[in-house]
Amino acid sequence: MATAPTPGQDGSQQAPSRIQDTSLGAEKLSADVLSSSPAAGPAVKGPPPEKPSNVRRRSLVILSFWAIVLCLGLPIWWLTTTIYRAPLPLDTMLRWADGKACRPVFPLHISVEASSLQEQEAQNLLRLTQHALDDLNDVASHHLRLQLAPRDNAPTAPDGDADPDDKSPVVLTVRLTPGQSTQASLHPHSPILDITYPPTAIPSPTSSSSSLASYIANELLSTYAEERTIISYLLSKFPAASEPRPNGLSAEAAESLSKRTTRSLRYSPTYHLTFSLFTSGAVPNTWDIERAIQDYMQPLLDVLGPVHNFTMDTQIQLYATPGAQSDVLSKDDLASFINAAEWPLSPSIGGAPTINFLLFIGNQTVGLDSASVPDTTSEAAHSWLIPKWGTVYLQPLSPSASHVTSSDLKQPMLTFAGHLLSLLGTPETGSLPLRLSTLGRIRSADLLLRASSTLGSLARLSRALPSISIPRSVADGVAKTIHHLELACTHLGDLEGLVHARIAEAEAERAFFEKSMVGQLYFPDEHKVAVYLPLLGPIGVPLVMGLINEIKAWRKRRRERAAAAEKKDL
């Protein structure tokens, strides 16, 4: 490579001198033949006048050379060196990224069961409650829509607000039962809100406001308060111009929400759970993990079944020294406790992200000032959560115990279960079924926004780097992403939306991380000069000089002709 420039220079220098040589040779050769020329003066002998046919032929030769260069050479060069860039719908992609293409709306259908009320009364109560809800709700994308549950005997028409063809499933049932006072309680195992009301609280058909209606509305809003803040937080992170910034979201709440979102893992349909027993000595080296998982973990995993699948493995690691040795672990120690260099905690192979649950047998405790951790309980002094990674639980055990029983594992397992929910990004309040259905909606919103922002990045990337090649597969991926994003946008709020958002996100990531785009060759412009110059120099110089001479000669001829014509006229 070092020798390359020298021959290049030689070539470019050689070419013009060679032209001169040939012309000199020609002069000598033809000296005798054309010795007598009529135009030659006594001092300076000029060349004889050329035949017009020769002049025309030379012009044609030069023209045809240039025609070949321009019509054949340039297109071939262009075709062979151009970079393939599949057409991308850049504007659509940017519209998605800006949030203009889809306005995420989560219509939640809440059915009201009021079997003890008259049809008319119930309709009226429903109407009033809906009004109260609409007045109170400040997040435009989060709609609560009430509908009357079909009665046993007669099918009831849904109330006026709901679309008649909307088949979205009911997420919550409000059961109204007459009772002594106004009370509300959430059913712990099914999505039912029980509300009792005194018989006097039924609004009359003419009244425009009712205390019961506003009470129900408040209860419903507070049930979904957390979901609303999370969704509005998610939407506010993206430049969705259509979404007015909710005034209810304080900086503090936003911070805690951002903490929670950074803590949770990326969405994946399958997670791999690794339960590890680490001990610094040789004992304990057996544990009753299978039974403990069956007893304390499996019920939760079964409930999470519709949203996620789980695979599991367990391991025992002896003679493991933690990265932090002190008996009371400070906050800095927690970060270095995992001895990443020595502990075999490699993630599982296969696509599923790994969540690690680590049980460390040792007498260490976590010493934190309670101000930094608001929910410090006795259990928190033994365990901590590592964002996007898993949980560590410190379990003191007598040094001679060689077996960890299932009952010893109860507390760690329950902690792991709780941390699993928060690692998955489940909201913290409400009953479990409600939290899980909220999880699905949060995840689909998150995936939707993530896929949109990936699309936007891809669009900006392809605009910023004009020399990057865009293979056809990227264009296909983008088309698929947009198709699934549209489907997800229309089905937001139910399981189908989640499925589409998941596909869209995967396709967008695949398109963005296309291998041939990532590994762009570094080919600086100096190299191009080194490649082109040896050819273009020796060929380009005679071509261009020939063209210039020809143009000069042509202009001269034209001038002469004009002068001749002038003379004639005179």
Binding site: A31, Q317, L318, I349
Partner: protein
């Protein structure tokens, strides 16, 4: 018949499996020329139920999930460095069954319905193992993968129903340099993690300083006749230490002062200023802490306390000193003794030089002659076959390979399988394959190649695979030769530093009769014709010049006008003309 033989030979191995789930032992065997063979052996078992339900205890999880993901039923992985000097050291440890060719060698039985599926699983396996062991195993691609037909037999007890679906794939990386980064993950797989027990003696500085070392990982199912099937992982390290080298101080080496030189005084030219160094076989005193850098720390409590962790093979006539807490047990065979340890503490074993012994007889022997090794060392049995391989041929194109196989036995015929997997850029001419027999009895007879399995190479897709079943009569030597052609590769196919040459994997020799033994030759360094790597620019410039010449000539002939020399506007004439024009103009302007 072959299966049966293999089975019989593996029987002792199988019967070694103990009831405990973890087993570790270090076998020390002093070798001639002041060398010491240290064989570490670690075995852990897991029941099939635990393995299937992903509950890992002593079996490493990281390896277990790779095996499950890649459908691997039996796995053999080798990291080797150096050369086993069979002429002086005798038979290889474990009959060569735990040895690999220089570099990394991997073979595995994968359960799959079709060859394509097996290839996919093999890709997963090599990629995952490459991450786990920090080795370039992901470069074991189609060109380095073979499917041996005769050389390898499964060691594990596979259920008869799954045997038709087991596919053997074998890959070698001869260029890989084994080093500390491969030892660290190896130690991580052990339940005691190199923190206590025999494994504390494993130190990268000593292991990779040895004359020969081989790390092996073998995973195989084992079904004892009474009891449930278990999956066993066996980790083996064999290293041959040079005792003198390993005892040198950890500072810049300097030549010893002349009074410390051990000279052979029997030489006629021996004088105070000339010294012929005495051979290494003068035995030296050594201790565990000296050769391994530090003493052994404790014992791994997971093992069966009945099994001694350290054994040493020296005659009972030699005395061995131990530190406190070590108990010596002499074995009945008179050739070896074992040591048990208390559970805590640092332990050391010292083998004094024989002349420091009380018996005056040995002192007399060592000082006068060098033939006393029988009293000092246990003599290793002679291997069934000696093999060496070298490159022949001439020039940049013609190459040849010669393998010399010797049967040292005086009365036993050896039957074996010779396997080579050659890279595709060695184009083997199989018709030149020739086996020439030279018996010690003087009468030349045709060597007996009984069977040939040959799978020719496909350029850039797969390498040559050659398996020969051969037989050598007693006390004779076979010269196996074949020619090949060296290929010119494409510009981008040359590795960095192409002038170093290309490594050719070791040939694997597996004896079938009288017993199964495995021998590997050294790797070869093949020199291929290497181009000048500034070639692309030279090509560009050369062709450009040629095109420019042709074009310039043609263009000028077409465009230039031919005139007489005196008619051409010469430079001088042009200058005069310019002056004339100027004069003319000035006159014109003055006239105006």
């Amino acid at each position: 018949m072959r299966h049966l033989l293999a089975f019989i030979c593996l029987l002792p191995l199988v019967s070694w499996v103990t009831a405990a789930d973890y087993y570790e032992q270090l076998n020390l065997r002093p070798l001639p020329l002041s060398a010491l063979l240290a064989s570490f052996n670690f075995r852990s078992n897991t029941s099939f139920y635990d393995f299937e339900s992903h509950n890992f205890r002593y079996f490493p999880r990281s390896l277990g999930q790779i095996l499950q993901h890649a459908g691997t039923r039996e796995l053999h992985l080798r990291f080797s460095l150096g050369r086993w000097d069979a002429e002086s050291w005798g038979t290889r440890p474990w009959e060569g069954q735990r040895e690999g060719g220089t570099g990394v060698e991997l073979w595995a039985w994968l359960e799959s319905e079709s060859d394509e599926e097996a290839d996919e699983k093999w890709l997963i396996l090599t990629n995952a193992l490459s991450g786990l062991f920090c080795a370039s195993l992901n470069f074991v691609d189609g060109t380095r993968t073979t499917r041996p037909v005769m050389s390898f037999q499964p060691e594990g007890d596979h259920p008869t129903s799954s045997i038709p679906n087991l596919r053997l794939l074998h890959g070698v990386l001869p260029k890989e340099v084994v080093c500390t980064e491969n030892l660290t993950p190896f130690l991580k797989l052990l339940p005691c993690k190199g923190k206590v027990g025999v494994s504390t003696l494993l130190d990268g500085h000593k292991l990779f300083d040895s004359a020969y070392q081989s790390m092996a990982i073998d995973v195989k199912p084992i079904c004892p006749e009474d009891g449930d099937c278990v999956l066993e992982i066996e980790q083996t390290i064999d290293m041959v230490l040079d005792i003198e080298r390993s005892q040198r101080p950890q500072e810049i080496p300097r030549p010893p002062p002349s009074r410390d030189l051990k000279c052979d005084t029997s030489k006629p030219y021996h004088a105070p200023n000339t010294c012929f160094p005495l051979g290494y076989n003068a035995s030296q005193e050594w201790s565990l802490s000296q050769v391994f850098g530090h003493p052994m720390k404790g014992t791994c409590p997971l093992t069966d306390p009945e099994i001694p962790p350290v054994c040493i093979q020296v005659p009972h006539s030699r005395s061995v000193y131990t530190s406190a807490g070590v108990h010596q047990m002499k074995n009945a065979d008179g050739r070896s003794r074992c040591f048990t340890f208390d559970s805590e503490g640092d332990f050391d074993i010292i083998l004094p030089a024989p002349d420091a012994d009380d018996t005056g007889e040995i002192i007399a022997n060592t000082t006068t002659t060098m033939t006393t090794t029988d009293d000092e060392l246990i003599k290793s049995p002679t291997p069934l076959i000696y093999a060496e391989r070298s490159l022949m041929g001439h020039g940049q194109e013609r190459g040849g390979v010669q393998t010399i196989l010797t049967n040292p036995s005086q009365d036993t015929e050896v039957e074996f399988i010779y396997m080579e997997s050659l890279p595709w850029f060695m184009r083997v001419y199989l018709h030149t394959l020739n086996a020439r027999l030279e018996g010690s009895r003087g009468k030349a007879q045709p060597a007996m190649i009984e069977d040939i399995y040959y799978r020719p190479a496909v350029d850039r897709a797969r390498g040559t695979q050659l398996e020969l079943r051969m037989r050598i009569p007693p006390a004779s030597t076979v010269f196996l030769t074949y020619d090949f052609e060296k290929t010119i590769l494409r510009y981008t196919e040359y590795p960095p530093d192409a002038n170093r040459g290309f490594d050719v994997a070791a040939a694997v020799i597996t004896t079938v009769r009288p017993r199964v033994q495995s021998v590997r030759t050294t790797t070869l360094l093949l020199n291929l014709p290497v181009p000048d790597f500034s070639m692309p620019y030279n090509v560009i410039i050369f062709t450009s010049t040629a095109i420019a010449l042709a074009f310039g000539g043609m263009y000028n002939i077409l465009v230039r006008r031919l005139v007489a020399a005196d008619e051409a506007p010469s430079r001088l004439a042009r200058a005069k003309l310019g002056k004339l024009i100027e004069k003319f103009r000035s006159r014109k302007s003055t006239r105006k």
